[in-house]
Each structure stands twice: as C-alpha cells, then as structure tokens.
C-alpha cells in the first residue's frame, strides 16, 4: 500500500463504520416492525434493503460517501503540481489510467469492507439469521436465481452504482479548481438532476430516476426488468459521464496542462 492510500485509510475507515451503523439501524428498525410472515428477513435482506430502497436514509447517503472518498483520493494530487510532474515523467494516459485504477480498487475495497462491517453489525442486533429465500432478498429479481447468485448480483449492482457516482466526481474534478467543489457539485448534481428529470422527462416515468432504479431490486412491482434497468442506468450512465470527461480532458489537454 503506498503512502497516498495509507493517509486515506482513516477517512475510509470512518465512512465504512458510518455505513455499517446506517445499515444496522435499518436492520433494527425492520426487525421491530416485522409482524410475522412466511419468512423472517435475515441480515442479508436487511443490508440490501438499506442499500437499495429509496425509502432508506443509507441509500441517499451512500453517494455522498463515494464522492467524499473519490475526492479525497484524487483531488489532493490533481490540484497540486504532483499531477504535472507525474504526467511529465510517465505520460498523460498512464496518469489518468492510474487514477481510474486507484478509484476502482478503493471503491471495491470500500464496498467489501462496508458490507462485511454492516453484516457484523446486523448480526449483533438481529442474530446470525440469513435469508436463503431469494424472493425475500430481492423480490424484484422474482426468485429466479439461487441465494448466492442473488447476493452476488446485488453486490455487483451496488458496485456499478458506486462506479457511476465515482465517474460523476471525476468529471467535476476536471472542471473545478478547489477540493470543496469536488464534494459539493457532484452531490448537487446527483441530488438535483433526478428532480429536473421528473419535470423535463415526465414521460419516462419516475421508476427510471436515480433513486428509483435500484429500488426495483428490493421492492416488488417497481420495475419489471430491474436487471436491465440497473445495467442500462449504471453502465450507460458511467459511459456517458466518462465520454463527457474525456471530451473535457481532451479540450483542456490541447489548451495546455497547467495547474
């Protein structure tokens, strides 16, 4: 682990713990209101409900966590001369590639650590109960996949979603000059864009808005094709943001790489 990652560890740990606390709170809340039924929800279904349900606070805060992490990892380097000195030594493509790679590694590690801590937290408050019924874990997937595959799919969508938030932060890194801007603007973009979309693209329907897309996985009937919706939204969205970022970077590159 290099020095840069080491200095990042404290923030990473704090956010992972906050994430786990958020997920555990959701678990407590849902354990209390559970009134009986064919399947008592387990810690795995509580976790994914906390992550994907648009009614849960955690699903609103997670984008902010990702923005903070990506900003902390990249902006210090980006707004210092280390950026230019690195480019002069190793080339532009290598610098950008390294940044992307660092972001992907960090996000993957964050999700794994935060999910494991959340499951431990949920285990402490709800006991070691796992839902093996795939329809209970993800009603949107219709119970068509086994429990392991269902959980892997949900983890994958969580990761794709985080990559989308990271690309948005990376885009704002190109057009801002101060660190705080790389925190505030992406969050405003991610929270305001869906509201604008409701009015501008009313014909599309609410179910395709950021906060609603993944909710289709854990709420029955919100979407008929949650896998397609999620893949289209997060991969398509990320590719679009990467394309815009690439265009901005090319324009700036031609103008000159200055601080």
């Amino acid at each position: 682990m290099n020095y840069y990652f080491k200095k990042h560890t404290l923030l990473f740990s704090i956010l992972a713990i906050l994430f786990a606390v958020g997920a555990t709170m959701t678990g407590i809340e849902h354990s209390i209101i559970w009134t009986g039924g064919p399947y008592k929800p387990g810690i795995n279904s509580f976790l994914f409900l906390a992550l994907f349900s648009h009614f849960e606070l955690l699903s609103v805060i997670v984008p902010l966590f990702i923005i903070i992490l990506v900003s902390d990892l990249t902006a210090r380097q980006w707004f210092s001369d280390i950026k230019v000195w690195s480019i002069v030594r190793g080339g532009y493509a290598r610098f950008i590639r390294q940044n992307f790679l660092n972001i992907i590694v960090m996000i993957t590690a964050f999700i794994v650590v935060a999910d494991v801590l959340s499951l431990i937290g949920l285990m402490i408050v709800s006991g070691n109960t796992w839902t093996m019924d795939t329809y209970t874990i993800a009603p949107g997937l219709g119970g068509h996949h086994g429990p392991i595959l269902t959980m892997l799919l949900l983890f994958f969508f969580q990761w794709l979603q985080a990559i989308f938030y990271a690309t948005v932060t990376f885009l704002f890194l190109q057009i801002t000059k101060r660190r705080w801007e790389t925190l505030v603007y992406p969050f405003l973009f991610l929270s305001i864009t869906p509201i604008l979309l409701i009015y501008v693209l009313a014909f599309i329907g609410e179910k395709y808005l950021f906060q609603r897309i993944s909710a289709g996985l854990v709420h029955k009937g919100l979407s008929n094709q949650p896998i397609i919706d999620n893949l289209t939204a997060w991969i398509g969205g990320s590719l679009l943001i990467v394309l815009v970022t690439f265009i901005i970077m090319t324009i700036k590159r031609r103008k000159g790489l200055v601080r």
């Binding site: 707004f79 230019v84 002069v88």
Partner: protein, 212 residues
C-alpha cells in the same frame, strides 16, 4: 541540439504572447531568459516540457518533435511555486514521483534532499514547510533523477543565500555531467553568472543580450 523552438507562435484569448520565437539549446548549455511579467517566459518552458503547444512552429526536445499528447521525457521541471501533496512528508512526495520512472532508489533521493539542506527523515507533512523548504523540495524533485534537460522557472525564489549558492553548485555539477538547462528568472545577476547565453523576451520575441 537538446531542444529547439523553431519560429514558434502562441496566442492566448486572441492576444499574441509569442510572436516568432526561435531558440536552440545545446547539450551541456545553460540558457537564461529574462523579461517582464506575462511576457511569455513560462510559456516557453511549458512548451519545452510538452505541457503546451505552439499555434505555429515546432518544438523539438531530445531530437523529437513534440506533438499533442507526447512528452519529451528525461526532463526536470519546476514552474512557479511548487505545490506538493500537503499531508504527505517531503520524502513521501518524492518517493511517489520517483516510483513512476523507477530510475533512482531511496538513497539517491536522500542524498539530493541533503544537498538542498532538507532532512529526509523529517516526519512533518509538507503543509508545515516554510516557503524556502518548499522551494528546495521542488528543486530536489527537478534534480533527483539527473534529467538531461532542466526547465526552471524562478528556481531561487524564497531561497536564502546559502541555499542559492547550493543551487548554483548543483546546477553546475549537473552541467558538468552533460545536462542542459533553461532558467527563467528576475535575478539578472544570477542569470548572468550562471548562463552561457541570456535572452530577453520582449513583445513576443527573444533577443540575445550581451552578458554583463
């Protein structure tokens, strides 16, 4: 020639900064550029580093034309007041940079830091450094990999007499090993003392001046 600017022109927002600049830097030569604020001195350094491109004319470094997206490599660069990652120590910042080319080991970084009166074992982050320490760290960064071409913008800014003398010593030692340098400075005495040739940039053109 280690670097050339061949009838280079550059405009910024319609204003012509470089009119018709021609410059040739030979191996082992130190070239000085003086001129007023905004005269285009730093732009010349940026072009030689591959960070900026001419609207017309050609930039060649190490015998290779610099096209968009290409960098000359093997250069040491210090432009404006250096800004490091503030929460890392000086040594950590330098190690991060050294790892990119993997040309030097930690021992070489330590030696270069000591040359510029910096303690490699200092655990304080760069944000606690004085202006002079920061500038010296910037110089270490430029010199540590023994590049063939040094591009230095106001290298002695914020340095005390002792550090200035050390900078001159290190620069002359680099030259004795075959390195070339382009120095931009307001200190005309320093430029005259160190440089083989001195140019004045005025109204977008370079004029060679007689050393006093």
């Amino acid at each position: 020639m280690i670097a050339t600017l061949d009838h280079v022109q550059k405009r910024f927002k319609g204003k012509r900064v470089l009119e018709d600049v021609a410059l040739q830097i030979k191996e082992g030569e130190i070239v000085g550029i003086i001129g007023g604020n905004g005269s285009g001195k730093t732009t010349i350094l940026r072009m030689l580093a591959g960070l900026m491109y001419a609207d017309q004319g050609e930039t060649t470094v190490h015998g290779k034309k610099i096209n968009i997206g290409e960098f000359p490599g093997n250069i040491g660069l210090l432009i404006e007041t250096p800004r490091f990652i503030e929460r890392l120590t000086g040594m950590e910042n330098l190690k991060m940079l050294a790892r990119i080319q993997n040309k030097i080991d930690e021992q070489r970084i330590r030696e270069t830091m000591k040359h510029f009166f910096l303690d490699p074992d200092l655990k304080d982050p760069v944000k606690t450094y004085s202006l002079g320490m920061n500038q010296r760290l910037g110089l270490v960064q430029a010199f540590m990999e023994e590049p063939k071409l040094l591009l230095l913008d106001e290298p002695t800014n914020a340095l005390d007499e002792k550090s200035r003398a050390r900078f001159e010593e290190v620069l002359l030692e680099a030259r004795s090993k075959g390195a070339s340098a382009v120095i931009v400075s307001h200190h005309q005495d320093e430029i005259a003392r160190l440089c083989d040739r001195v140019y004045l940039i005025e109204e977008g053109t370079l004029k060679e001046v007689t050393k006093q």
